[in-house]
Amino acid sequence: MTDAATGELIVHGAEWTTKQLFVYPNEFIYWSIQIVMYPYMTGLVAGAFVLSSLYHVFGQKDLKDMARFSLVFSLCLLPVAMMPLQFHLQQPLRGVNVMFTPHFTSAIAAFGFVFSAYAVIVISEVWFEYRQYFIEQSIALKGKKSTNETLLRWFYYTLALGSRDLSEKAIAVDKKAVTILAAIGIPVACFLHGYAGFIFGSVKANALWMSPLMPVIFIMSAVVSGIALCMLTYIIIMQWKKFQAVLAKGMGDESVVVIEGVQMDVLSKATRYLLGFLIAAITLELLDLIFRGYTAMKSWDILREVMFKADFFKIFILQYGLGNLIPFLLLVVPKQQTIKKLTIALVLLLFGVFMMRWNVVIGGQAFSLSFAGYMHYTLPIIPHSMETYKEGLFGALTVVATPYLLFWIVSKFVPSIRYS
């Protein structure tokens, strides 16, 4: 495609790649911000789902309030895991070919199927969870005359897939189905994400990516980011509700205290799980790093250059320091946990996992396949073409914003937060 403004040919990747020393002529940073977003977003999906399943499957009663919310939120994250790939593909309209002629020796080929299977599980689980609610709504709207209400009634009726059974037996079946689906969902969610790690870990041409630990590292950090995001969103929503309660009933009202109490209780329980996965993730990452240094294969020279010089700030300061160590201390050390500290820790954790994805995806392309040169990535900020939008800051922000937009829409029909 030629750039309309300059008439110059655009080589994909040339916009944001700067080469240094000897780099093969065809090498560019082909996998850019959207491929950072892809494992990040699937990680959030998987993490959110695992969190909701902890309640349904393992009966972690303390997570009850979190469970419904994170289930609905993982539903909203679903299409978003797909979005970065669509943004990234050079032929987005052909993306469906992955479902048509899957070449299963490719780690990407199964994506369509694993993802669809996972989508089916999440959607069905939401359906069983809310079937009763859908039917109740459509019954409640019966006999109302306005067009809006009739439409809404039909909408709920369709959402219930025409089912009207509200007997105790049927509701018991719903509960059982939710438990079963949540149980199946955990391995599928882990697989979905572990397999995103496999996509990278199996690229033998890339010295940084190729590691059997990659899938496991990806799952652990995915769960960390998923739980952190759910907790954070939960905090924001609860604070909003508290704020509304304060506005309506005044500061000292009982409901405000109730909200605060419930919130802190739920969060401190979720924190324990978060810490467990965080420790696992960091341990594995460090193991990988130490192993590479100790075995010092051919690629170590250039990897060391990239890790300890060019990307030192991004890896050791931003990712491990700011994104892992500080939130870890914030979560562990103070006995008296506050919402403020927790929020800071969660934001930093999300940032840390994002930086981990960045350092893997972009860092893996920071050196040439020749091991004799470097490539530097500059994120396109102001888009001046479709490509710089899709694979730039605003493309990434679109991806980040979408689940919240979806959640806002879904919440109009499906209540996911209760605090009674």
Partner: protein
């Protein structure tokens, strides 16, 4: 037993059937492994012919000889006989129909591809008759003095 559990299952089955139908319609009939391995040979068979039918642009010296025999003989007798006509004259494609004339590259840079001196002992480059581009009549095109069809210095 009629249970509401079947309702979502039916929806999933319908979606799956739709996918299979879409696949039947969209995937070319010649997609397959065609006796090769699934790992390395899974492809659309007609693509092979598409590549075979790709347009050839460089036709080679023998094609040039069909009309320009004299010139080709001249070239073959000179030290430049290792060069293809099209290296300097550009690809013939369907000349003389399309294009009717070939643009000859006469730039100094074209000759420097081989004749700019480079001190590289492990390459035959070091053996090439060579000039120092910076001191050897800078700014002039080589063809102003040298005839590329008779590059020998005696024939200048």
């Amino acid at each position: 037993m009629k249970s509401h559990v079947f309702r979502p299952i039916v929806v999933v089955i319908i979606a799956f059937v739709l996918l299979v139908v879409a696949r039947q319609l969209m995937v070319p009939k010649d997609f397959g492994v065609h006796g090769e391995s699934f790992t390395f040979g899974y492809h659309r068979l007609s693509n092979i012919d598409e590549w075979k039918n790709y347009k050839t642009k460089y036709r080679g010296k023998e094609y040039c000889r069909e009309c320009h025999e004299e010139k080709v003989e001249e070239n073959l007798a000179s030290p430049h006989n290792v060069l293809e006509c099209e290296n300097c004259h550009g690809p013939a494609v369907d000349h003389p129909e399309d294009p009717e004339t070939l643009p000859i590259e006469t730039s100094r840079l074209l000759c420097q591809r081989c004749h700019a001196f480079l001190p590289y002992p492990q390459s035959n480059r070091a053996l090439m008759p060579a000039i120092e581009p910076e001191s050897h009549n800078p700014g002039m095109n080589c063809v102003e003095c040298h005839n590329p069809h008779h590059p020998n210095l005696e024939d200048m």
